[in-house]
């Protein structure tokens, strides 16, 4: 069992980080929230709406979007197409309407394209809109993935290690970017991270996981001082042996 007895509450418009050693069940936790795994017991609510048992596409429509630890863009689609796919759920064009090219469809497509371009501009990719996403540089791919997630108009955005594989300059840029997401767009952000510096720098609340259980929760300062966390991170080996 990867995650067990976890109880987390996420405040609106916060940046909430989930940290923990390797195999602590962070990504599994994400997969449960976004509907890829079905928890055997327990409840997940978004604004009083139960998410358990819903298909991932329903959950996205309710307002939870995510990115992936190892980037998963649509490699053979262009950057703008990637973003447009993210908008899928909000577009209303019907099959017949598309074929007949009704004025409604025309207008909606135009608006969608404008919004996609706005989002690309927001992540500084407006000049690369027509490049295939597989040909984008790594950092661009990370940002494009976030833009795609934003296109679903989420209330809660789950970022799975957005700074993995980045150097310190890029990491800093990404941190600023995440903060601007919350500040400018008012989106609640949940973050899985490995790099303590990132976590401590930008999050308001941190939850520490270990062996699928919640070890501690609190502000960065509280977490830094928490002895259990220190043991889990430093004394990982000894802790494992004692089990």
């Amino acid at each position: 069992m990867a995650v067990d007895g976890l109880d987390i509450e996420i405040e609106e418009k916060t940046i909430h980080s989930v940290i923990g050693p390797n195999g602590a069940g962070k990504t599994t936790f994400f997969n449960c929230i976004t509907g890829f795994y079905k928890p055997e017991a327990g409840e997940i609510f978004l604004e009083n709406h139960s998410l358990v048992g819903l298909m991932p596409d329903r959950i996205v429509r309710l307002g939870i979007a995510r990115t992936y630890q190892n980037i998963r863009l649509f490699p053979d689609l262009t950057a703008i197409e990637n973003v447009l796919v993210g908008m899928h759920a909000h577009l209303k064009s019907s099959y017949l309407g598309i074929i007949l090219n009704t004025p409604f469809v025309k207008r909606e497509e135009q608006e969608a394209e404008d919004e996609a371009n706005r989002l690309l501009k927001f992540v500084n990719l407006e000049t690369k809109a027509n490049m295939l996403s597989k040909h984008l540089p790594y950092g661009d791919q990370r940002r494009l993935e976030i833009a795609r997630a934003l296109a679903t108009r989420p209330k809660l955005l789950c970022l799975d290690e957005p700074t993995a594989g980045m150097n310190s300059g890029e990491t800093q840029a990404m941190c600023d970017f995440i903060q601007s997401l919350r500040d400018d767009l008012g989106i609640t952000i949940m973050l899985i991270e490995h790099q303590m510096r990132v976590v401590m720098g930008i999050s308001e609340i941190i939850t520490v996981l270990d062996y699928g259980k919640k070890l501690a929760e609190g502000t960065p300062d509280e977490i830094k001082r928490n002895p259990k966390v220190i043991e889990a991170y430093l004394g990982q080996g000894s802790a494992a042996q004692s089990h």
Binding site: F36, K38, E40, A41, V52, G53
Partner: protein
Amino acid sequence: MQTKFQRWKESITATDIVMWVIGFALLVLIIFGSILTLRAGRYTPVQWFDFVIYGLAQGSIYALVAMGYTLVYGVLRMINFAHSEVFMSGPFTAYYVAAYFYRSSLLESHPVICLIIVFIVSMSISTLIAFLLERIAYRPLRNAPRLIPLITAIGASFTLMYLFRGLYGTGFQAYPVWKIFDGKWALFQGLEIGKMQLFVIFAAALVMIALYMFIQRTRIGKAVRSVSEDKEAASLMGVDIDKTISITFIIGGAAAGAAGVLYALVFKQVFFMMGFIPGIKAFTAAVLGGIGNIPGAMLGGLLLGLLESIGPALFLDGYNVVAPYQLKDAIAFLVLVLVLIFRPTGLLGERLAVKKA
């Protein structure tokens, strides 16, 4: 707190229900048909036994060919469509050796030695073709999108089929008869089993067990398994990927060559298109068992053979359907689809499914 049952109930979608209804209806039809047939009592127990033996003999040939599909699928994740031509090429070439033995009456005097030589020729030709196939047609496409190697494989299949047609002509060549396989062995209570069927089942089982042991026990086999688990990790551990993939093709080719001779011994005819139908059947068998899984290929092959042999008589005869054996392939495919509906990764294909998710 909800119980597991409630959760399960919630996660069911409309399509699931439709599928269960369809599947259940088909199952009821099948079972009801079987009961009708059995109650009609047209077939004696001896005949049922015969059906099983015929099915097993045919199925073990399918299983051997299916091994090739499954092995290649394991390491390359591609349908080696041209495997049916690997199956055809060996026995077709070995026909000329067998015909020579027959003309020079060596076949009369040393049947066993001749048989072994025919096996060796067939297996080496099939192996060679499989090896060349991988080198020329598949290796350059190792990292191409999934559909590209499929098309190459179809193209290679056509090329090989019509190359052999050009070389050896369009006619049916009749394999000589090995007198040692004529006749039957009586078991108890009137049951008897054809020597040929017994030999085919036995030989196929032997080859399969040998290959399975080879894959499970030897160093090379371990390399093959590691490549099919995770190519990158295997290459980091010092496994030579190219060599291992070549070996996989060679093993699959050898199995197909052996299967081809067994096929030629049973059915006595070889011609350039003989691979096509058994190839499709064997691939179906591999999928039925769970592609990528070696015991799955064996199970799938035997099951498919049995279905083809027993299915029409058991399921359809009770309804007095006209010409039920015309529908034997339809039954086989129907069962395949049913299996895939309830186990989308085949009978033994769990492992792969978990990895892909």
